[in-house]
Amino acid sequence: MEDTFASASTPPEAVSADELLTSSAGQAVALSSTDAQLKAVLEAIVYVTEEPLSAIQIADALGEPRERVEKLLELLVGQFDLPEHGVTIREVAGGYKMATKAEHHERVRAFVKSLRPQLKLSLPALETLAVIAYKQPVTAPEILEIRGVQGAGVLKTLLDRKLIATAGRKDVIGKPILYKTTKEFMVQFGLKDLSELPTLKEFEEIRRLALSDEPAASEADQGAAS
């Protein structure tokens, strides 16, 4: 056991080892030393930044070719995805962001001291958010129509938390304000982009499958819901 941890310092001849990186598939990938260096810079940037940044944003700011940055970011994501890593690089809100892996949450939680205020949303707020996410841009009266309840008040909560934003006015009588979801919404819900939301048709599909599996499935369903 002792031996396995031997020699902490890197001999200069080990340069070839730098260039031998492990891709997500576990295969060795040969990387030029400038690419390796750029990848290291990308790691530092993703580590530092608060908002998820797209490959294009990063590439343009660094003055590097977009495809090259994209390729190296993919490689980075693949490496951190390996189970040997406890942090990972996630693709959220159209960008890259470093975070701990969810599977370690129990053991990590003890060390997390109010790093982020918890976002607890009421069910009406979540429903309103869902309607906006799927129907955007959408007006308050339209949301009301779908939900069948007066509940425009949750809009303020969602606006305050920057989960939604205004998006101009609709060209109908009264010119009501339009609402859309924000980048923050995608960050808070861990969505890569809006297309990642399952379509409403898919929900119906799930429902139908659940019904055809009767009665055990629907019982289980009720159990889970209660």
């Binding site: 580590y47 470093m98 975070a99 958010l129 799927y134 939900r147 069948g148 819900f189 799930i206």
Partner: protein, 261 residues
Amino acid sequence: MSSSLNFHLEHYEGPLDLLLDLIRKQQIDIRDIPIAKITAQYFEYMEKARQMDIDLSAEFVYMAATLIYIKSKMLLPEDPILAKDGAEEDPRQELVDRLLEHEQYKNAAEMLQQKRLIEENVWSNPQVKAFISEDEDPGISTTLFDLVKAFGEVLERAKNRPIYEVAGEDVSVADMMLYLKSIFLSVGDDEPVFIVRIFERQRSRRAMIALFLAVLEMVKLQAVEVCQQDLFGEIALRRQKSFDTVFAGGDPVSAIEKDYR
């Protein structure tokens, strides 16, 4: 009132929630709702809510009317003229469509909640602060809503602000000192107060003179000092250390009141 359904009075956000719950709990085919039965159960719920003094919103009443309408329409014989034109639409159809749509969004909300659950167990720790120099004001990211909110708050503050009657004839030097004091208290400790701008706000000559004398008095009392940040820059007043003690008793102000009478 004997009922096959024994619901403890749950909170439903709206009539659609209540109807969906009735339908799903009894495993009724949503595309073929036994409207008489569901209507009866719906009214039972409303009655119980009434007995328990729970205020149901207007939407519940409206839905009750809709249910009765559908029920009565289904009792009527098929309209021969419409039947000739093709299949008459099921009177339940519109309600069913609304229920299905509503349910989809409920499912979507549930999915969002689950996604959120994962996010609650993932932590990020960006270190961008180390790379932003201290003199840069990070500020707050701003949306249109922040803008309206800020304006709303400004107006709210204006509403609650004590009003100093400076338009009247009887504005005194002491009044102006108290007015200046309130301005100093409304800005930060080290914030300068630009005196020209306050002069610009005065609506009468008399008020300006009173203000000018008040400034001189305050400088004399060493409550404030006059300063200029750069050559030809705006003249500003800055709070001195003794600012609070000067105003502590209110005595100097009343003394000055006498002086100027």
